[in-house]
Structure formats: C-alpha cells, structure tokens
C-alpha cells in the first residue's frame, strides 16, 4: 500500500533539472504519445479510471473526451495550479520537486487534446514556483520537447505560466478562465461547459496539476495497468497533504484504499497524534468537505474500517460520511474547538465569495456573524437552527460550488457536534477547550 508512481523519483539528486529527469526515463510519454492517435491517448486515460485530483473526482479521460474537436477552433489545456483549498498543499510539492513531471504531463495531455497553446495557472503567492516552472520550460524547449516542430514531428506547442493574484475562487474552473482572460474571477454559468466554450470562447480542458502528473505513467504503462493500482472505482495513487495536530505533517503519496487508521497512526505517514493527545475530528479532503468526529471517521456507520478512497470516505452520504476531495487532510486533537474552527472556515468563505449570487454573498456573511457570536459568548439557542437554515438556503442555490463548499462544513459541524454549540451558548464564559459533545475520542 505504499506504491509510488508520482513521487518515485523524488530522492534523485538534481531531478528538478532536465538532464537528470530525462536520464531517469523522463519525457518518454511525450515520445510515445507523438506516435499515437490523440483519441487513443484519451482512451488510455479513460481506461485508467483516473479521477480528477482537484477535488470533484470527475473521471479525467471522460472529461477530455468531451472537448470539441469538430468545430476546428483552437483548443486549450489549462493546468489548474491555483491550490488554495485550506488544508491542501500537494500541487505545490509536485511543482517544486518535479517540475518536469508536470510539464511532461502537460505536453502529453496537450497532444491528446490537440492543443497548441497550454497554460498553467499558478496562484500568485507561489512566486518561486513560477520561476521553477519557467526555467523548466526553457530547458524543455532547448531539448526540443516544446516549441515549434517538437522532436521533428511537426507538432507545435507553447506552455505559458500564468500568475493569479490571491483569490480562492479562481481555482473554480470557469473563474480561472475569466481570470486568465484578465478579468475578475467571477464563475460563469454552465452550460456551456469549458469543453465547448472556455478560454476566449474556445474548447478548453481544465485539469488539476496532480491529475496531469499522473498522465505520463498512464501513457507509458497503459491505462489497464494503472487501473490495477488502488481499489476499483478509486484507482491509482493520491497525494495527501496532511496537517493539523499530528506528528508528521507533510505530503504523502498513498495507494487509494489504504485504511485511514494506518494513514493516521503509522509512522511512515502521519505518525499519530502530536503530544499524545486524543483524536477528536478529521476533515479528510480540504476545508470544503464535511468534518467527521473520530469515531465516524475511523469506522463507517456500518462498523467497517474506513479506507482512503472516494467511495469509502463518502460511505453513508453526508449523514455519516464525507469526501476525499482534494486530499487536504486536517486532523484535530481533543483541545480544538469545533465552533471556533467552523467560524474560521466560514470567515474564509465569506472573504472568498466573489459576490455574484446573493445566497453565497449574504449567507456566508450571516453564518460568519452568527458563529462569531456563539464563539464569543453572545449566542442564543435559536442561533443553531438559524445557522442550519442559512446553510440549507445556500446549498444548491448558487452559480458555482463555492456556496456548497461554504454550507457543508457548517452543516456537518452542527450535525455531529451540536452539543458543543449548545455548550458554548449555555456556558458562555468557559470557552471550549476540552472535548465536548458527541464526538467519541479515539484512544490512541
């Protein structure tokens, strides 16, 4: 369960440079893809079962197959390196350590999509990463893997590194496209989907850095081989960025299907709770997914061991389950306050709402204020139901999924930790420091 296909070469000195990357088998997928039919490359990605690693988990090959090639308009690949979901810091790691893997994936994917201009949209704060990528592009160009007439095949491709400027919403694919056009990051109403009308109104595919980085292996080894890694429906490996109150925060490549208990407590991954504290709750896939109390996180409602896979984490729906999301794994110990954490996340969504839809723009502000009051000892019992009502009215009623992403953490916190909210309201002076509520702490 510790197979590595993305980070397998990470220990090699100088792997971030072209010569070392190339002499370790790098760019083989470009050579292979140039000899294949573009549709066959897409077919291999479909067979691999690879699901989008940016958060939504939509099958990558299927998404690529929707791109409109018939209209004859220019097609674009956009690699989403906006990475701003709280808890998520894995794409940064890939780009820092293995920039040529990301480029190789982008070139191979561009061949599949028959794109001649591709973009990597990097969040503006990652200034050093922008330099790393630009250097890698120069190297790849000098070696003939980018630019005009790649490897003498007549295929032309330019890759542009585009900088964002601090806006979580620009991770949403249509907001990203707007931003790439030099505008505010206001998400577009879908349909039309980007595969039909995206950047400059042309067919566009937006894929996450990690999804794109998995493509070279799939092309080299075949989709069927990739599908054998992991578990059915959750094939392959996934990068998990682990943070919070654990001993070994960091980025790990795991084979999907690894039991969460192993990931959390084994020394090769999170290494258990810091300072010998007890586990209180986990947010498994970035701030937008429902928080689960320790008991429900380690085992499903049916008493089965929970696994790190799309299906197992979602088991029970939102009543008792959550989502794999982006792989931003946030661990809370017994000293953490769920009300404070929920208020903090809600403030984040309120700050990041683009303001286009009233349920999101106003609702996130309402939730922030209600939670702020409860956390600061000014809450009323009726506030809990009001909060529930507000999140319900946001969910599903907005242009983009940021509204849902703001609603779900609030709903889950009330669902699983209602006692803790009540306690804050009843005992305003004693702010929550110890585990309280229905969460059953796991004994470590």
């Amino acid at each position: 369960m510790s197979r590595k296909i993305l980070l397998d070469k990470i220990g090699i000195a100088g792997i971030e440079t072209f010569p070392v990357y190339r002499s370790n088998g790098g760019y083989a997928s470009v050579e292979k893809a140039l000899k294949m039919q573009p549709a066959d490359i897409v077919e291999e990605v479909k067979k691999s079962g690879l699901r989008g690693r940016g958060g939504a988990g939509f099958p990558t090959g299927l998404k690529w197959s929707f791109i409109d090639k018939k209209s004859g308009r220019p097609r674009y690949l956009v690699c989403n390196a906006d990475e701003s979901e709280p808890g998520t810091f894995k794409d940064r790691f890939l780009m820092e350590k293995l920039p040529h893997l990301v480029l190789e994936g982008m070139i191979t994917a561009s061949i599949a999509l028959e794109a001649n201009l591709s973009f990597i949209y990097v969040r503006g704060e990652f200034r050093w990463i922008i330099k790393i990528l630009e250097k890698a592009i120069v190297e790849a160009k000098e070696a003939g893997f980018l630019g005009r007439n790649i490897l003498g095949t007549g295929y032309n491709l330019e890759i542009v590194v585009q900088t964002g400027a601090g806006a979580y919403i620009c991770g949403e694919e249509t907001a990203l496209i707007e931003s790439l056009e030099g505008k505010r990051g206001n998400p577009r109403i879908k349909p039309p989907f980007p595969a039909v009308s995206g950047l400059y109104g042309n067919p566009t595919v937006v894929s996450n850095v990690e999804s794109i980085a998995a493509v070279p292996w799939i092309v080299n080894n075949g989709g069927a081989e990739y599908a054998k890694i992991g578990v059915p429906k959750s094939s392959g490996t996934k990068l998990i960025s682990a943070c919070g109150n654990i001993n070994n925060p960091g980025v790990y490549e795991i084979e999907l299907g690894l039991p969460v208990k192993d990931f959390l407590f084994a020394p090769e991954w999170c290494g258990g709770m810091k300072n010998g504290k007890r586990l209180k709750a986990v947010v498994a896939g970035g701030s937008s997914v429902p928080i689960l109390p320790a008991g429900l996180f380690l085992k499903t409602a049916n008493g089965e061991d929970r696994l790190m896979s799309y299906e197992s984490l979602a088991d029970g729906g939102f009543a008792t389950g959550t989502m794999l999301g982006s792989g931003g794994f946030i661990v809370y110990d017994e000293d953490q306050c769920i009300v404070r954490n929920t208020w903090n996340f809600t403030r984040f969504y309120h700050h990041e709402s683009c303001g286009q839809c009233s349920p999101c723009r106003e609702g996130t502000g309402w939730m922030e204020r209600i939670l702020h009051n409860i956390e600061n000892g000014h809450g009323k019992m009726s506030d809990i139901d009001l909060l529930w009502d507000v999140q319900k009215k946001i969910e599903g009623n907005t242009i983009c999924p940021l509204g849902d992403a703001a609603a779900w953490p609030v709903a889950a916190a009330i669902r699983h930790f209602r006692d803790e909210f009540e306690w804050h309201i009843k005992e305003p002076k004693e702010c929550m420091v110890r585990n309280f509520g229905i969460a059953e702490p796991a004994i470590v």
Binding site: P86, G87, F89, L180, G185, P249, H351
Partner: protein
C-alpha cells in the same frame, strides 16, 4: 474602493518594458488583456509594493483597455495593495489549519514586537502586518509570507525574533 493618486508619473524600467512585451506576446492575437494580472504584479513590484491610480492607468494604456477594467481587477484580488505598505509586508496565514497550530499567537507576537495592529505599518516604514487566508503551507504552520519567501514553522518566539532581525539587517545592508 481605495484609490490613491500620488500625482507622480510612473514608468517602467527598460528591463521591465522588455518583460512587458514578452508577456503580451504570449497570448493569441487580440487577447492582450490576459496580460493584465502579470503586468499589475510587475507594476506593484516596481512601484514600491502597491498600486496607485497612476500605476493602474499606466497599465491600462499599455494594454489599450479602459482604466475601469484595471480597477475592477485590482480591487478583486487580495495580492494587489491599493495603499502604501512597508518595506516588508508580513502576511500571516490565519486559516483553520494554521490557526490550530498557533497562527493567532504568531499574530499577537508580531503585533507586540512591532507595536502595530494587524493592517498597520511601523512608523519607520519597515513592516506592514496583514493576515491572509490559506497559503498552501498548512503542514508547515504557523507561517507567514514575506515577498518571495515563505517562512514556515514559526512556532517559537526565538524564531520570530530571528526573522525580524534578519529582515532588519537586510534593510540596513541595502540602505
């Protein structure tokens, strides 16, 4: 919206102008507006870490777009500063994962040591303190960004002192 006019003429250096041409040429014919975000970063870097109305208008002229198209964008994105900032902008991440590993303590330590509140600039113009949302460094918390650098694991007072000393020395060396 904050809009500050300085009354001063702004102009890119020769080197930046070359970079501007390079950036604009990356996009397809007629899509030069895509260069807006990168050019605003360039302007902010060159004109003292913030964007005056003059700087925004200058970028608008370069891209042959209306000034309002630039203001719209500059006010949307949190990285563009619309008022002057200190020589070192300390941006502390305050989001959940950083909060549970001591971000609040880091902010109050900085406020105490610099004798300013969040959002303010020290009287010597050296430091501005600002809280920001998740910077994708959640596992290395608490942390702050200063210019190009992420300073991570700032979990003790000594590390905060060291960082401030290092920045003060850097400023002294350049002066």
């Amino acid at each position: 919206m904050l809009a500050i006019r300085t009354g001063q003429k702004v102009e890119f250096s020769e080197q930046s102008l070359q970079k501007v041409t390079e950036i604009i040429n990356r996009y397809p014919e007629g899509k030069q507006k895509s260069a807006l975000l990168p050019l605003l970063h360039l302007a902010q870097d060159e004109f003292g870490g913030w964007l005056s109305v003059e700087a925004m208008d200058y970028v608008a002229r370069m891209l042959h777009i209306q000034p309002i198209e630039v203001y719209e964008v500059a006010t949307f994105y949190s990285m563009y500063n619309l008022k002057p900032v200190g020589r070192f902008l300390l941006e502390v991440c305050q989001t959940g994962p950083c909060m549970i590993r001591g971000a609040e303590k880091l902010v109050s330590q900085l406020e105490e040591k610099l004798k300013i509140k969040n959002g303010e600039t020290t009287t010597d113009g050296l430091f501005t303190l600002k809280t920001v949302e998740c910077l994708a460094a959640c596992g290395y918390a608490p942390m702050l960004q200063c210019g190009e650098h992420y300073h991570e694991f700032l979990d003790t007072e000594e590390k905060v002192d060291q960082l401030l000393d290092q920045l003060r020395r850097k400023a002294a060396a350049n002066n």
